[in-house]
């Protein structure tokens, strides 16, 4: 059974940044743990536009003109509709072809890596076919909730198939651990609710995953996009040398956090380097990724570090305006 | 073809009259037009009517023309609503002229009306964005200030026209409007203030744009050989020309000329047997200042790169060699969209008859006047040349 390759990948961040200092100015403190800033969607951006931007970068890096992919897996919790799949809009933006299997995964930050794993399973079951996996998210919460301070936005896309690429996918494993009171959103609600209990449900999920012993230990980098302390603890649990450092400049980008962290790790990975991608939310999912060096040009254009280091900082009122929190007439333009 | 003359014109005082009904506003123009026929005019003589309006805010979309004829005392005549955006009036006039010229109709009217001051702010903007190529220009996020702003930016780039020259059109036309009793804005505008006004759509400030205006106007035309029973001072329509162009500016070869205006002018000049030099004064379409700059080139008054200098050198001022927009134009006199083209005819007829209203506004013995009426950003244009009867 030949391994599934990541043929190309790309990340996309919105252009705007909100410095943590703006929360201190507005609210007297920033409740997120240790961020410098976060990326967030401008008025005319959303997970769909970010998904398209990430996918186009990945496809451009393949250098083959319009990519003929047969399946699209999208992991997101904040697409504009509960019903009417935005993935169809993403397909329209990428190709005129109709014969594409489209699957949307949602429900928790795990959905990004769930999309990656599901796309890999499609490729394994359909040798020679290409699948596109995209994690794109812009989680939100009411402005007066402390956990709102961490929420940002991003997307990362991976083109999977057989043949030489920048990395191969190895073992994957997942566990389920129902949560009670952390990070939930009822049907029709626009923002996340979180009761800020002292239970450590995410840490418990990582422990459960580690206990399954299905994932190889000894990865060089744990790509998870978690806050520094949680990331370090997870790395220790899973036997990885260190965790990524994406969080301080990205924030919590929901399903895209782990995916962007993986793209960041791939940017800097030497051939043979072993990565472990991890996402947590009512359970955990992990997948082994081994860098292979890859064909020329597969890392052309902006790296994740470039994106994180760029962007335009704005103030808190501008942030609220862009996030449409202050709009009384949004959508009423008949 | 039968010769056509104008025997009477009428116009309301342009401005904001939110309390005046549509029917009453139209009646005012009709009464003024009939009263303007020296030997009297029975409105029931009208056989054919062309009435221009964009849409008066949606208050009467169907059977608009018959409703207006009721107010004018002309009910029973054949009538039709003419719509070519801001050129509705000009095309209404053209249709009336052609109907009489065909020999089939003896007496016709061309009228126009617009009423928008009674709309809430948001509805105003809904209506103002309807005359571009909606599918592309509106969805790109721009109304006409933006589209004309892009044209101005390009004119400055290609021809070296300066912002001060372009805005000089507004200064001139606002000055011209001061003495015009039927103009909307009768206060002088200094160039310095105009350049410092709030930005509308860069490079335009609010001073580069016409305002929202209510108004109505009417012109009565008939066969030349019938004129004597109505007036001893008919005004002859010696040229009519019209054309269309791609509605979206991005579909045109050039963004700094209006091919529809060039074609309309060419046909009008040819019909009149004259060139641009035969025109003593003109009323042109300055919905935005750049509109008048474009007109100078499109009407053959000069080369496009000389247009800015024409303003700077005062050639088109009231006391200049070839006065343009002596009435105040759209910026000074006002722009009631559907009526504007007829309002231009109103001014030209009065000038040619020596009856211009307002102290100091009468030009000295003008022989021929030209009206240039543009729809939207140039998708449709009508040009007319009128001549004083000797």
């Amino acid at each position: 059974m030949s391994a599934v390759s990541i043929l190309a990948y790309g990340a996309a961040l919105p252009r705007l940044r909100l410095p943590a200092s703006e929360y201190r100015n507005a609210w007297g403190g920033c409740a997120a743990s240790g961020p410098t800033q976060k990326a967030f969607c401008a008025y005319d951006e959303d997970p769909v536009t970010l998904a398209v931007a990430a996918a186009r970068l990945a496809c451009d890096r393949l250098g083959a003109g319009e990519l003929a992919f047969d399946a699209l897996y999208v992991g997101a919790t904040t697409l504009p509709y509960e019903e009417k799949p935005s993935s169809a809009s993403i397909v329209t933006a990428l190709t005129g072809r109709r014969g594409v299997r489209v699957v949307e995964l949602r429900g928790s930050p795990q959905a990004g890596l769930q999309a990656l794993v599901a796309a890999a399973e499609f490729c394994k079951a359909n040798p020679g076919r290409i699948a596109l996996a995209i994690a794109a998210d812009a989680p939100s919460a009411p402005p007066d909730m402390p956990y709102e301070h961490a929420l940002g936005a991003a997307a990362a896309a991976f083109v999977l198939g057989s043949g030489p690429g920048v990395a191969t996918l190895g073992a994957d494993a997942a566990c389920s651990l129902e949560t009670f009171g952390s990070r939930f959103r009822r049907l029709g609600a626009t923002g996340i609710a979180d009761l800020e209990l002292r239970t450590q449900e995410d840490a418990d999920a990582v422990a459960a995953l580690a206990g399954m012993e299905a994932l190889p230990r000894g990865a060089d980098v744990l790509a998870c996009g978690l806050p520094p302390r949680a990331g370090a603890a997870a790395a220790k649990r899973l036997g990885a040398a260190r965790a990524d450092a994406v969080w301080p400049r990205l924030g919590d980008a929901g399903t895209a956090s782990a995916a962007v962290a993986l793209a960041d790790a791939l940017d800097g990975a030497a051939p043979g380097q072993r990565l472990l991608a991890l996402a947590v939310g009512a359970g955990a999912i992990g997948v082994e990724v081994t860098a292979t060096g890859g064909p020329e040009g597969r890392r052309a254009g902006p790296s994740v570090a470039d994106l994180l280091g760029g962007g335009t900082p704005v103030d808190y009122v501008a942030y609220l305006r862009h996030r449409r929190v202050l709009s009384s007439r949004l959508g009423d333009t008949a | 073809m039968t010769d056509v003359v104008v025997i009477g014109v009428g116009q309301t005082a342009y401005g904001m009259v939110p309390h005046r009904t549509l029917k009453d506003l139209f009646a005012d123009a009709a009464v003024d037009a009939c009263a303007g026929v020296d030997k009297g005019f029975d409105p029931r003589l009208v056989e054919e009517a062309y009435i221009g309006t964009l849409s008066t805010g949606g208050s009467q979309l169907g059977n608009f023309a018959p409703l207006m004829l009721e107010a004018a005392g002309m009910i029973g005549a054949s009538a039709v609503h003419v719509e070519n955006a801001c050129a509705s009036g000009g095309f209404a006039f053209r249709n009336a002229v052609l109907a009489v010229a065909s020999g089939r109709v003896r007496v016709a009217v061309a009228a126009g009306i617009e009423k928008m001051s009674d709309l809430p702010r948001e509805r105003n903007r809904l209506w103002l964005g309807v005359s571009g190529d909606v599918e592309w220009e509106r969805l790109a996020g721009t109304n006409f200030p933006g589209i004309y702003g892009m044209i101005a930016r390009r004119h400055m780039h290609e021809h070296g026209t300066t912002k001060a020259q372009i805005t000089g059109v507004a200064v001139k036309n606002r000055f011209n409007a001061i003495a015009n009793p039927k103009a909307q804005f009768r206060k002088a505008l200094e160039l310095e203030d105009a350049l410092k006004a709030p930005v509308l759509a860069d490079p335009f400030t609010l001073s580069d744009a016409c305002g929202i205006t209510d108004g109505a106007a009417m012109a009565i035309v008939c066969r030349a050989d019938m004129a004597k029973s109505f007036t001893d001072r008919p005004v002859k329509v010696v040229g009519t020309g019209a054309g269309t162009d791609y509605v979206a500016v991005h579909d045109r070869d050039s963004a700094t000329r209006l091919d529809a205006a060039r074609r309309a002018a060419r046909d009008a000049y040819a019909m009149a047997g004259i060139g641009p030099d035969g025109i003593d004064f003109a009323e042109v379409h300055d919905c935005f200042t750049i509109g008048e700059i474009l007109a100078y080139g499109d009407l053959g008054f000069c080369e496009p790169h000389e247009a800015g200098r024409l303003i700077e050198d005062g050639v088109t001022r009231r006391d200049g060699k070839r006065p343009v927009n002596n009435s105040g134009g759209l910026i000074g006199k006002g722009h009631p969209i559907g009526a504007t083209g007829i309002g231009q005819i109103y001014e030209i007829v009065h000038q040619l008859r020596g009856t211009a209203e307002g102290s100091g506004r009468q030009l000295a013995n003008p022989r021929r006047g030209l009206a240039h009426n543009v729809g939207g950003s140039g998708g449709s244009v009508a040009v007319h040349i009128l001549e004083a009867c000797a």
């Binding site: 252009r15 008025y43 | 791609y246 979206a248």
Partner: protein, 149 residues
Amino acid sequence: MSAYFSLPMYAASSGQRLRLIAGRCRSCGRLAYPQRAACTGCGRRAFDEVGLSGRGTIFTYTIIARGGAPAEFDDQQTMTGRIACGIVELEEGPRVIAQFADWEDADLAIGKPVAAVVRRLFDQEGIVRYGAKFVPVRFTPARGQEEGR
């Protein structure tokens, strides 16, 4: 009631908008973007679809300030201020009007390079309308790469 661009019409043009699909006239080879029924060169009505790169330069532009944008963009303008629009001359030849995104004043000048991205245009009738906007092409140095890709 006002100018109203219906959902079926939007749907019909959606792929063309998002992927910049032009029509190449089968008779004279001229490119039409936006697509149209009849070729502006020869008047014929048969085209082949051609995807454009999305790269171009600014042909002309404007920055819309106070309420000069159509009502669909009113909320965007109220919330985010000035809206920049312009005509972009695409590298394959055709010109198209569009809104600019991610711009600063220094980016807007005739001749500056821009590239198409997918962005939200507006919400109406509960449906999000996406379209192409153009962003300035600024060179981001990537690790080990030359400027500009």
